[in-house]
Amino acid sequence: MTRLLLNPWLLFAAGVLLVPQAVTNQYYFTLLNIIGIHTILVVGLNLLMGYAGQISLGHAAFFGLGAYTSGILTAAGVVNPWLALLLGLVVSGSAAFLIGIPVLKLRGYYLAMATLGFGVIIFIVLVQGHRFTGGPSGLHGIPSLSLGGFPLDTPFRLYFLVWTCVGLLLAFSANLVDSRVGRALRALHDSETAAQSLAVHTARLKLQIFVLSALYASLAGSLYAHTLNFIAPSSFDIMFSIKLVTMVVVGGMASIWGSLLGAATLTVLPEFLAFFQEFEVVIYGAILMVVMIFLPRGLVRGLMDLWERRHRLTEGGTTPG
């Protein structure tokens, strides 16, 4: 019974269904939706960083490509939002494919710099492309999504769509890392040479996972555009890419549930620390340092280790002799 209750998927489903009972304020639903969107981004980036061992410091760019493809096409009323979302996936996936071919030949710092460069370029395009993007002041009038005629026009209504996506993508990712391709992915992280010697086409696999994580980001971007009905380039800058990396590390590299926890923690925290607005960057940096020093394996594994240690202690104390 306890085993059943501790099943993370059941806990997750119960949480998603129970939270709306406790929350009434629409503001909190918006916050929950943003957490869900960040989770999608972070789990995608974690596949790339935590599992495959390839860093991307330009992930906000794919998030932005998805958001702006959806935003531009639907604000102008040109296409159906769902079709726009699909087109966003095509745009981001193609961009990832094209830049991935040369960029993924690089390693470590060089890969970080190249993806950073890509992030800067997309950011500049968003700022300078006034005619389409609305420039620095942003893009207004993005309509809400609707599902089979039912408008998802309040944060509460959107909540179920966002968190269904989160649940499905968490499951998809967890299955992936435990599959043939997932093992090859984790293998190339440890030794690319040995993986190649076992017929793993490492270059292609890295490209595949890079594109996949860009698709996650693009989907998150489209949802984001329809959640806020307004987007501006500042949401897709380098700072946001760095925040995403922070979320991955804080939650735990190569940890699916850590992605959820990392995204939730670092989305909620700034809201409660609004007082420190100016020092947000400093706080992010400080959190990253503290986690790296005290919980280097991330929040989920770190806390699990602590809990296990305590559990063992108390168990040892109560075991009848």
Partner: protein, 230 residues
């Protein structure tokens, strides 16, 4: 190289033994010359493509997937013989699940054969060196190679482990696997090899059955030394 035999390559350090391995397995591209495998030219092919043909190898410095479990390491060895793609695996399609179950079963069998099954769920990094070498060989064998290249498999092994390694190589040969062996342990080499090639500074100075090699004057001068008592 004739199939189903064990060939050893020996020579002093820097003779080009590991370079030979890297050329055959696609990790280095030759400046000139051809490498034939089953009648096809394979020089210049990337390493993963060479591996896909059925050429497996181990490394002089053991290269395991440290964060994967012992079992998962061997499961990656089955990569060459399996097909399921990213989507099939992530969506847990019946085809992919069946294939994954087969991979797991084969990997278990391989671990039981080398006596590593009790450690199946430990991370590979936790094994002592002797078992790491054993695991690396088991992983290469999981790919059911036609040609297996072993790069100094006995270095770091104690005498008992070395003996077991020798039995393993002979067992492979009995199963029709062709083995190319680089080894400094001469008694092991003499015991398992059908043929020995001697390299010195990238040049082949002698080739033949162990007995002939032991008496070859140039080999004794370059490598074995005069006090070698085979």
């Amino acid at each position: 190289m004739p199939p189903g035999r064990v060939k050893a390559v020996i020579g002093p350090n820097g003779a080009g033994k590991t370079t030979l391995f890297n050329l055959v397995t696609g990790f280095l591209i030759p400046d000139a010359g051809r490498i034939l495998f089953q009648g096809e030219e394979i020089q210049g092919e990337p390493a993963h493509a060479t591996a896909a043909r059925g050429i497996a190898r181990t490394f002089q410095l053991v290269q395991l997937f440290d964060h994967l479990t012992v079992l998962e390491n061997v499961m990656v060895g089955r990569h060459r013989l399996t097909r399921a793609g990213m989507l099939a695996g992530a969506l847990r399609l019946p085809r992919a699940r069946r294939e994954d179950a087969a991979i797991r079963r084969d990997a278990w069998e391989a671990l039981e054969m080398v006596g590593l099954a009790v450690r199946a769920h430990q991370p590979a990094a936790a094994l002592p060196l002797g078992l790491k070498r054993l695991l690396e060989i088991a992983r290469a064998l999981a790919a059911q190679p036609i040609l297996l290249l072993l790069d100094e498999p006995a270095s770091g092994l104690d005498p008992v482990e070395t003996e077991r390694l020798g039995e393993m190589i002979l067992d492979l040969k009995a199963r029709g696997v062709t083995v190319l062996l680089v080894e400094h342990d001469m008694s092991l080499t003499m015991e398992v090899a059908d043929d020995i090639a001697v390299l010195n500074y990238g040049r082949l100075i002698a080739e033949g059955p162990p007995r002939a090699i032991q008496r070859h004057p140039e080999v004794i001068a370059a490598y074995l030394g005069t006090d070698w008592q085979g």
